[in-house]
């Protein structure tokens, strides 16, 4: 089989396995070329896709338009022509037209101007379209399930809800979310990202977000208030207060708003039934969100250990994200790692090398191969003493190592200033399903095998996701800025770190680490 034919087969298999976004540019090109130029490969592709469709239809017949009749009160109103049609169709086409009735009813609704459109509890309003390691504390829900006006308590993972108005809401556990209407929801706690159609509204305990055609994220904590960040477009935020005098605030791309409890009555901006809150509005980079985005202060004597947790074994992929501010460059210094003290040691590492490079390296044990992976890019004195964002993605399904520096992705390994190799690494692709496990702890600021080649600087919002983040999510992490905003993109794994010395002794929080999420970000 030729190389391009192998790439075509590999790309087609990945596509059928749901790993479309993991296809490399070369695999996409092989797929395009095969379909366009090679009749046999075209037939293979069409056969495969028809089988995929048939299997999906037979195993999960979840056409999202499978709706029920509109509420009686709505259907009885004589004024709107579309409702007359829907009533007629409902009577004429019986079961087959149930689909159309729902479609027309949704279509005929007036644009939501911010008020949540309450519906009958049995009306199907959305479909659960995707699920990643999701668990609910009530009834189990799986992709394809039709959703009515209901409360969902997501205890683990992520799910995506597709409303029939075109809005997609992704919930990150732990979250409590209620579908309240055809174009409305209520986030009681946790995080969500919405790609919304204009008019979509989300209520939270302290504010209501009314979309104007955009992508936005909301995080609500029952005890500490909530925040909204606008990723694209525009939203209006209406604070919920006793006096109902707060004007709606319009936020555009790059802006956010936080509502947090306050102890000072005098400075309170908002008083509602839950108490007194301050309201802060700013851009992504400056808006304080929570204590989660802790800043770790590291030097020759002070490192951080998270223990031997979250290994990447044969069945796992992983994304590591951190903000770092380095006092040094041009010498070997380990910023973050799990094992991988040398290029042949299993695990992953992010470090600086003497040639003025930033290295992202990993090593694994595969069934038939065992090569060293690395990507590198310039990092010298001009980059010191500034905050930079790094994302490392080990995709164990596609067999790729990718990285992002300040939102610029390595792509096939040679893009945006990235290069393949360096630090003993040779390649950026590996055998899918490989084992990167290491017995070493996740460390910040030192190399695992000798606690040497220490690094001086600060790390903020160090998070790990147990899945492959998309390029868009990786760049959004950079756009959002630090201080705990990563959870607006996806839910990270639990990490519990503590300061240690080079001898492994536990250290108390250092005196120069001020409290607060962004106290050390200046």
């Amino acid at each position: 089989m030729s190389g391009s034919a192998e790439q075509f087969d590999r790309a087609l298999s990945m596509l059928l396995d749901g790993a479309l976004e993991s296809l490399s540019d070369a695999e996409c090109a092989a797929l395009r070329q095969g379909v366009i130029d090679e009749p046999a490969q075209r037939e293979q592709f069409v056969d495969a896709m028809l089988m995929q469709a048939a299997l999906l239809l037979d195993h999960a017949p979840v056409m999202p338009l499978r709706l029920v009749e509109p509420p009686e009160a709505e259907a009885a109103e004589p004024a709107r022509p579309a409702q007359g049609l829907s009533r007629w169709i409902g009577a004429a086409a019986v079961a087959a037209s149930v689909l159309i009735v729902g479609m027309l009813w949704v279509w005929s609704q007036p644009a939501n101007d911010g008020a949540s459109t309450r519906t009958e509890p049995t009306q199907s309003l959305a479909v659960l379209s995707a699920s990643h390691d999701a668990k609910f504390d009530t009834q189990p829900l799986t992709p394809g399930d039709s959703l009515t006006s209901q409360i969902m308590r997501l205890t683990q993972g992520e799910v995506t809800i597709d409303y029939f108005d075109g809005t997609a809401v992704t919930l990150c556990a732990p979250a409590v979310y209620e579908i309240t209407g055809t174009s409305a929801g209520r986030l009681l706690s946790g995080g969500m990202i919405a790609r919304a159609t204009p008019g979509f509204a989300v209520d939270t305990p302290n504010f209501t977000v009314i979309d104007r055609g955009t992508r936005f994220a909301i995080w609500v904590d029952e005890s500490t208030g909530g925040s909204v960040l606008v990723l694209d477009g525009q939203v209006d935020v209406q604070l919920i207060d006793h006096e109902k005098t707060s004007p709606a605030q319009s936020l555009t791309e790059g802006m956010g708003l936080s509502v947090m409890p306050t102890e000072s009555d005098a400075s309170a901006d908002l008083i509602n039934e839950r108490g007194r809150f301050t309201v802060a509005t700013g851009d992504f980079a400056t808006l304080p969100i929570s204590e989660q985005g802790r800043t770790w202060v590291l030097d020759d004597q002070r490192h951080v250990s998270f223990g031997d947790v979250h290994n990447i074994d044969e069945a796992n992929s992983q994304t590591v994200s951190l903000w770092f501010n380095s006092k040094v460059s041009g010498r070997t210094a380990f910023i973050a790692s799990k094992g991988n003290s040398g290029s042949t040691d299993n695990g992953w590492s992010v470090w600086l090398d003497p040639a003025g490079l930033l290295m992202v390296r990993a090593s694994y044990t595969g069934a038939t191969s065992d090569r060293n992976l690395s990507l590198s890019r310039r990092f010298d004195t001009a980059d010191e003493n500034q905050w930079h964002h790094l994302v490392m993605i080990i995709n164990n399904t596609a067999g790729t190592l990718t990285a992002f520096y300040d939102g610029l992705g390595s792509g096939d390994g040679q893009q945006n200033g990235w290069h393949i190799g360096g630090g003993g690494g040779e390649v950026n692709q590996f055998e899918p399903g490989s084992d990167f496990s290491s017995k070493s702890p996740i460390l910040l600021g030192a190399r695992a095998n000798d606690m040497g080649v220490t690094w001086q600087g600060r790390v903020n919002d160090f998070v790990i996701f147990n899945r492959v983040l998309s390029a868009r999510e990786a760049t959004d992490l950079h756009r959002l800025g630090p201080t705990g905003k990563s959870r607006f993109i996806a839910m990270p794994v639990q990490l519990s770190g503590q300061y240690i010395t080079s001898n492994g002794h536990t250290l108390a929080t250092p005196h120069d680490e001020a409290s607060g999420p962004d106290a050390n970000m200046k």
Partner: protein, 177 residues
């Protein structure tokens, strides 16, 4: 035909071609949730344009031509978001033409596939069920089965190959005998 009859026929045609439309869209937009989104958008466009459809002509072909526009728009959106070119218009054109030719026999294809699935071993049927019934990712299936994602992927590849060969034999059956 009265206006009411035409609407009844339109509803019947639209509901009757949902599965074929989904297959047509999925072949060009392989992520199921995106394909479902585009199917929904296509249905709305078809309804809004219902008066442009000429009764007596091929409804499915008309619906697929509109779906084609929606698919291309979806890819343009994705390209704008990701900056990556995965399926271009030339590729989509070739796929839509090839799939379009197969749509008339799609129902027969599904019957053959169901027959072939019934001939699989229990393990093979189970892994297909896990992948397609619950929307399980290869990784989650691997975790459930205690196997590597790569091993699951290879198994799925083999089962699809078995089914593909079986369907081909089944659909050629009467002529061959």
């Amino acid at each position: 035909m009265s206006t009411q009859d035409q609407l009844e026929q339109f509803v019947a045609d639209l509901t009757g071609c949902q599965d074929s439309l989904f297959a047509f869209i999925l072949s060009q937009l392989p992520q199921p949730h995106q394909a479902r989104d585009v199917l929904q958008e296509t249905n709305l466009v078809l309804w809004r344009k219902r008066e442009e459809f000429e009764p007596g002509t091929n409804f499915q072909a008309w619906a697929m031509s509109i779906a084609q526009f929606q698919v291309r728009a979806a890819w343009r959106d994705m390209r704008r978001e990701s900056g990556r070119l995965m399926f271009d218009d030339a590729m989509l054109g070739v796929i839509s033409a090839s799939v379009g030719e197969r749509m008339d026999s799609f129902a027969q294809y599904r019957d053959a596939l169901r027959s072939c699935i019934s001939k699989l071993s229990d393990d093979q049927r189970e892994i297909i069920r896990k992948r397609y019934e619950s929307g399980g990712s290869v990784q989650s299936i691997a975790q459930t089965l205690g196997r590597s994602a790569n091993a699951v992927s290879i198994t799925l590849h083999r089962v699809r190959k078995v089914l593909s060969d079986c369907v081909r034999r089944t659909m050629k059956g009467p002529a061959a005998s």
